[in-house]
């Protein structure tokens, strides 16, 4: 398996202390640069199949991660690279999984949509829209039954928000007072269908109302706001009072997957968001206003670039899985 040494988070990041804005900047930039390189490798034919990029949504995975305590779990759907990096998974293992190599996080058997890392609390990486919501509810049920004080952060998108099992899960989570935060990443397009065309109620934070689950809308393009909201929601869930819903208003810059020409929206719409709401630019400006010198950010840029370059090299150099791997991991003994 890929080395587990790289990309360790700075000490104290997960302790619920004050937000470290430079760490936020670094983590968001790592996701951005990682995803850009993944897109390039896809174009070069080194990554196959489906590849859903997280570019534009980085503030959510990074901000929510700030609220996560040791033992808390994360589970999401298939647009998962950002969550894995934020959770502390090795970028080399993630990239090598994208290229389908032996050094990949799932030893080349899962691909972009199916990676797991119990040691960092990341429980996938699920390819069926909405399935992770029931699964996440089960992680939270286990937390409750084991009395371990852990909270589950369960992500899903505006598309999944219309799946039936989401509401089955809402009902059970509130009924059993499960420690779970439902994080809805509303990037406004379920593949090619805008939320207005698919949802009778477009304010997704209200979707828990008939189950008595509190919810709020959050600016998902501002990592500090995301972090503060996630801390509040996590405290609610951890206190034993039940689940909490955060609707993160966000935007994905790229198509649904690499094969999506994104004809359902205009170039101008995308450019407008990039220009005015980009989470990384926004934080950089804020840091500079606070007196952080441009040099300091440039040093981080260079560090991140090096990590991603190393991940790409690893992912290219790692051999394909041994043919014998075909038959392993079907059953456990």
């Amino acid at each position: 398996m890929a080395g587990k040494t790289a990309a360790k988070k700075p000490e104290g990041r997960n302790s619920g202390g004050d937000a470290d804005l430079l760490a936020f900047y670094r983590d968001m930039l790592l996701i951005r640069r990682f995803e850009e390189r993944a897109g390039q490798l896809y174009g070069m034919g080194l990554i196959g199949g489906f590849c859903h990029l997280y570019i534009g949504q980085e503030a959510i995975a990074v901000g929510v991660e700030h609220a996560r305590a040791k033992g808390d779990q994360v589970i999401t759907a298939y647009r998962d690279h950002g969550h894995m990096l934020a959770a502390g998974m090795d970028p080399r293992g993630v990239m090598a999984e994208l290229t389908g190599r032996a050094g990949g996080s799932s030893r080349g058997k899962g691909g972009s949509m199916h990676m797991f890392s119990p040691e960092t609390g990341f429980y996938g990486g699920h390819g069926i829209v909405g399935a992770q919501v029931s699964l996440g509810t089960g992680l939270a049920l286990a937390n409750r039954n084991m009395g371990n004080g852990a909270v589950t952060f369960c992500y899903f998108g505006d598309g999944a928000a219309n799946q039936g099992q989401v509401y089955e899960s809402f009902n059970m989570a509130e009924l059993w007072r499960l420690p779970i935060v439902f994080v809805i990443e509303n990037n406004q397009y379920a593949m090619g269908t805008s939320i207005e065309r698919a949802s009778a109620e477009t304010h997704l934070y209200k979707r828990g109302a008939s189950f008595l689950i509190p919810g709020e809308e959050v600016d998902g393009m501002d990592v500090e706001i995301v972090a503060a909201a996630a801390k509040k929601a996590a405290a609610h869930a951890r206190s034993g009072t039940g689940p909490y819903i955060l609707e993160m208003k966000t935007y994905r810059y790229r198509g649904h997957s690499m094969s999506d020409p994104a004809k359902y929206r205009t170039r101008e719409e995308v450019d407008e968001v990039r220009k005015t709401r980009d989470p990384i630019d926004h934080l950089a400006e804020h840091l500079e206003k606070q007196g952080v010198r441009e040099d300091a950010l440039k040093i981080i840029d260079a560090e991140v670039k090096a990590i991603v370059a190393e991940a790409v090299e690893f992912a290219k150099a790692s051999p394909e899985p041994d043919p014998r791997e075909l038959y392993t991991d079907v059953y456990g003994a």
């Binding site: 799932s106 069926i128 029931s134 286990a142 084991m146 089955e168």
Partner: protein, 461 residues
């Protein structure tokens, strides 16, 4: 003119019950709909209502009597002489009104009091593989399953049960009786009617390190949850490169129930046995039900455990104490040299009866109880066919792309040169399950159909 009140049956498998209480006494006048008695079975209690008006002439069975056979005359009513509504039609001599059981539980469970025509007495079981000297106790399949869960829950605090009506109601089929009381509501969890959601929640809890038992009220309802069973439970170990285990048991009654028609009567064995990553267990008798369920709960993989409603009430010998049956091992229930018959779940009983009939005609059948469909114990089947040179594969489900098709394919792959006749299948007819009693019986595998197939492969008519 008097009419008999008969001991009613509450479910297809009920043969006898306790007459708990009389609510009337001789001389009382009763009207249609009045509750006259309370009946108890191992599964539920119910009230017996008068279906006609009249006067109680005699109570023929004392309150508190146990093991009153279904159909026994328990009371006699006189015609409606004492009532002021002489217009009410008097009961016809040739009609025997049966008391309408007022069932005190879920509609899904309130099945008509009929058994399949083929359902004879439980077939005798060879005790070959019981430990020598073990004390054997007659136990219903229902209680054997409960005992397996209770023992494993005592031994491992990670094991818990969730599903519809499993806790306070004690199980729609009373399989989880007593578990809530012993283990509390965190380990015996009543779920909403939410198959998709709670199956997924069970898988998530397994990923987190617990060992859930997810009960489906019947496997028909698991169709709502099949995505979680296959896409999440079966595939995650592989997709994670071995990092995530999903040690979960999905269990509940599968196959044909009685007179509930197409949506509540289907054998899903081949559906799940198709999927790598799942284990599929199909016990017949109580000892296997217990021993295999205990093995399933301890297994680190997702196990689909297919029970049979028609077997729940049947009693078999179960050895006392710790009793495990390994997953993946078939059992030869009857040896014979002329034809191999494979069967699983309720079909094993029919196959054993068919073997008796065939023996009467000079054909010695070897009956293999498959017990597990995935992994399938091909070696036992192939060894048998090399001896008998003939095979009949019996399944309760549809034949196309089915369990019999797979077994025959393996026999052809592994024992082609030993076959003396084309293999045969006995299965449900290729139609949705009909409701009408005669059509339902025609649709299902039967002793007669198995006998015919056995003779056909022996070129006997």
């Amino acid at each position: 003119m008097s009419q008999d009140i008969l001991m009613p049956a509450l479910s297809p498998t009920m043969e006898e019950g306790t007459l708990a209480k009389w609510l009337v006494k001789p001389g009382d006048a009763v009207r249609s709909g009045d509750v006259i008695a309370e009946i108890e079975t191992d599964k539920a209690t119910m009230e017996v209502e008068a279906v006609d008006e009249g006067k109680v002439e005699a109570l023929l069975v004392d309150a508190g009597t146990e093991k009153v056979k279904v159909g026994t005359v328990i009371a006699r009513l006189s015609g409606g002489a004492s009532f002021e509504t002489p217009a009410a039609p008097a009961p016809q001599d040739d009609v025997k009104p049966e008391p309408a059981p007022k069932v005190d539980h879920a509609e899904r469970d309130a099945l008509p009091p009929k058994r399949h025509p083929e359902e004879g007495a439980p077939a005798p079981v060879s005790k070959d593989d019981f430990p020598t000297g073990a004390k054997l106790t007659k136990t219903s399949v229902r209680d054997a399953l409960r005992d397996a869960m209770a023992e494993e829950m005592r031994a491992d605090p990670r094991v818990f049960l969730m599903g519809e009506e499993v806790a306070q109601y004690q199980g729609a089929y009373k399989v989880s009786r007593g578990l809530l009381e012993e283990f509390g509501d965190k380990r015996v969890i009543d779920t909403p009617i939410t198959e998709h959601g709670f199956a997924g929640a069970g898988v998530g809890a397994a990923m987190a390190g617990l060992r859930p038992i997810v009960e489906f009220m019947t496997w028909n309802f698991a169709m709502q949850a099949i995505d979680q069973i296959i896409n999440s439970a079966a595939k995650t170990r592989y997709m994670s490169g071995g990092q995530i285990s999903v040690p979960i048991v999905f269990r509940g009654p599968n196959g044909a129930a009685a007179r509930v028609a197409a949506q509540h009567s289907q054998d899903y064995a081949s559906w799940y046995a198709h999927v790598p990553g799942l284990k599929v267990v199909v016990p017949y008798d109580a000892a296997d039900a217990k021993g295999l369920l205990k093995s399933a709960i301890r297994d680190p993989n997702p196990v689909v455990f297919l029970e049979h409603e028609m077997l729940y009430g049947q009693e078999f010998d179960v050895p006392e104490g710790e009793w495990l049956v390994p997953i993946g091992k078939a059992r030869v229930r009857r040896t014979g040299k002329d034809v191999t018959i494979t069967a699983y779940s309720r079909m094993v009983g029919l196959a054993l009866q068919a073997a008796e009939v065939l023996a009467g005609e000079g054909i010695e059948a070897e009956v293999i109880d498959l017990r597990t469909l995935r992994p399938l114990d091909s070696a036992t089947i192939i060894d048998s066919v090399k001896k008998t040179h003939r095979i009949v594969a019996v399944e309760e489900g549809w034949a196309p792309m089915g369990v019999g098709a797979e077994i025959i394919a393996r026999v052809i792959e592994g024992a082609f040169d030993w076959l003396d006749a084309p293999p045969a299948r006995v299965s449900q007819e290729d139609v949705p399950m009909p409701y009408a009693a005669n059509l339902e019986a025609l649709s299902l595998p039967s002793v007669d159909k198995i006998v015919k197939a056995g003779k056909a492969v022996c070129y006997r008519s």
